[in-house]
């Protein structure tokens, strides 16, 4: 395959960008998520220690981020054009949330994400794409958390997901779609999966082999830093 074909393939609109958000949240990154919409618009969202800030650029960007497939997405710190008033306010807010989180021994509740997700609505074809996308994930584990702390308004569907996961030995999200009672709409089902996926509450069942692979990758990273430090 030629280089061009590889790039073309990579540029297919998809929901892979949710994986970037997931990594950034679970590793408590600081910086920006930048993504490209199908209309080639470039959008940035700001993050501090894994928390999306609530400046208007981030909130508006997040709404599109969750609603539509994207062309491309990356995490960086180079281009933080933030209105400093917004951020000053936000960092304080983040601090307060962190304090609150400390008492429950949990990380800060992702209120910006849940607030925006509560109001999302998907077109039918996007909903189908998301359903198929989640259905093809390998077997997963679901973590139970007190959803009401997160400001997410559909605790029942999350609970249903959790209970279904407990009942099935090799639980996949395809099983969830099959077994979910019909009074829970497809949109509710998908929403809870987006939430769980982004917050890393839905995790792949770790097979020993993959963990091993990850370990040697980490070793590679540490060795690259060692070499760099030696030469600076």
């Amino acid at each position: 395959m030629s280089q061009d074909e590889v790039n073309l393939d990579k540029k297919k609109p998809s929901f892979k960008h949710l994986g970037i958000l997931r990594q950034a949240i679970s590793k408590a990154h600081t910086g920006n998520i930048r993504y490209e919409t199908v209309e080639n618009e470039e959008i940035k969202m700001n993050m501090l220690l894994g928390n999306l800030l609530s400046d208007s650029m981030t909130v508006n960007g997040l709404e599109k981020f969750l609603t539509f497939p994207c062309m491309d997405c990356k995490f960086s710190v180079e281009c933080a054009e933030v209105n400093s008033d917004d951020v000053a306010f936000d960092a304080d807010e983040t601090l307060n949330i962190q304090c609150a989180g400390e008492h429950s021994q949990e990380a800060a509740p992702p209120i910006v994400l849940t607030r925006v997700l509560n109001g999302i609505h998907w077109e039918d074809e996007v909903l189908i794409q998301l359903k198929e996308s989640f259905s093809q994930l390998p077997p997963v584990e679901v973590k139970m958390v007190p959803m009401h702390h997160y400001g997410y308004n559909d605790t029942l569907t999350y609970l249903t997901l959790y209970q279904t996961s407990l009942k099935n030995k090799d639980f996949t999200l395809a099983i969830f779609f099959d077994e979910c009672p019909s009074y829970i709409s497809l949109e509710q089902q998908v929403k809870v999966l987006v939430l769980g996926y982004c917050l890393d509450l839905i995790k792949p069942k770790a097979s020993a082999k993959k963990v091993q692979k990850k370990k040697s990758r980490r070793l590679g990273i540490v060795n690259r830093i060692l070499n760099k430090i030696r030469e600076i």
Partner: protein, 190 residues
């Protein structure tokens, strides 16, 4: 290709040398006391608002290290849990000539050990000063009998580098021992 980002934390009581160390090992930085001296990153003001030092070491095209220096005050203790997510480990600096710093450091160190289980290395600074404690006395004072303590002066670039190298060595050793479980990459949506 997407960049990997990993973190190193630099912590410890007041005036231990945290900001000094981060300055030496970063390619770009945003230091809490020193906003003007930065360029591109200066716009990311959030870090200074929460009082963190923030430096980035560009390792290569595909890898950045984010260095976070936490403020040397106990009221920021709560941040360690979130800071240590995705972190390789922590450099803990303490002014070994100041009893007040050692007492404060003990609280921080114990708190840290309870909250985060990433590798840690202790740098004993201000060794050139009168009254600098022996390393055993310091270890005892911090309640850190089993930790590696390295005497150093962060104002010397080579010393700052040595601390980072020692931490990385510690990371490698701890990886040999326990099963490190991390996110699996092929968990992508279509």
């Amino acid at each position: 290709m997407a960049k990997d980002i990993t973190k190193i934390l630099v912590t410890g009581p007041f005036a231990a040398g945290k900001t000094t160390l981060i300055r030496f090992v970063s390619s770009e930085q945003l230091l809490s006391k020193d906003v003007k001296a930065t360029d591109g990153l200066a716009r990311f003001k959030a870090m200074t608002t929460v009082g963190l030092d923030f430096g980035i070491l560009h390792v290569d095209e595909t890898l950045d290290v984010h260095l976070f220096g936490t403020p040397g005050q106990a009221r920021f203790n709560f941040m360690w849990k979130v800071l240590s997510r995705g972190a390789l480990g922590t450099i803990f600096l303490v002014d070994s000539s100041s009893q007040r710093a050692i007492d404060e450091g003990k609280k921080m160190y114990q708190y840290y050990r309870n909250k985060a289980d990433t590798p840690i290395i202790i740098g004993a600074t201000h060794r050139d000063k009168e009254g600098a404690r022996d390393l055993e006395v310091l270890a005892d004072g911090l309640g850190a009998e089993n930790a590696n303590i390295i005497p150093c002066d962060p104002r010397e670039k080579e010393d700052s580098k040595t601390l980072v190298l020692a931490l990385l060595q510690e990371v490698i050793e701890s990886d040999m021992n326990d099963e490190q479980e991390e996110l699996v990459d092929d968990f992508e949506l279509m």
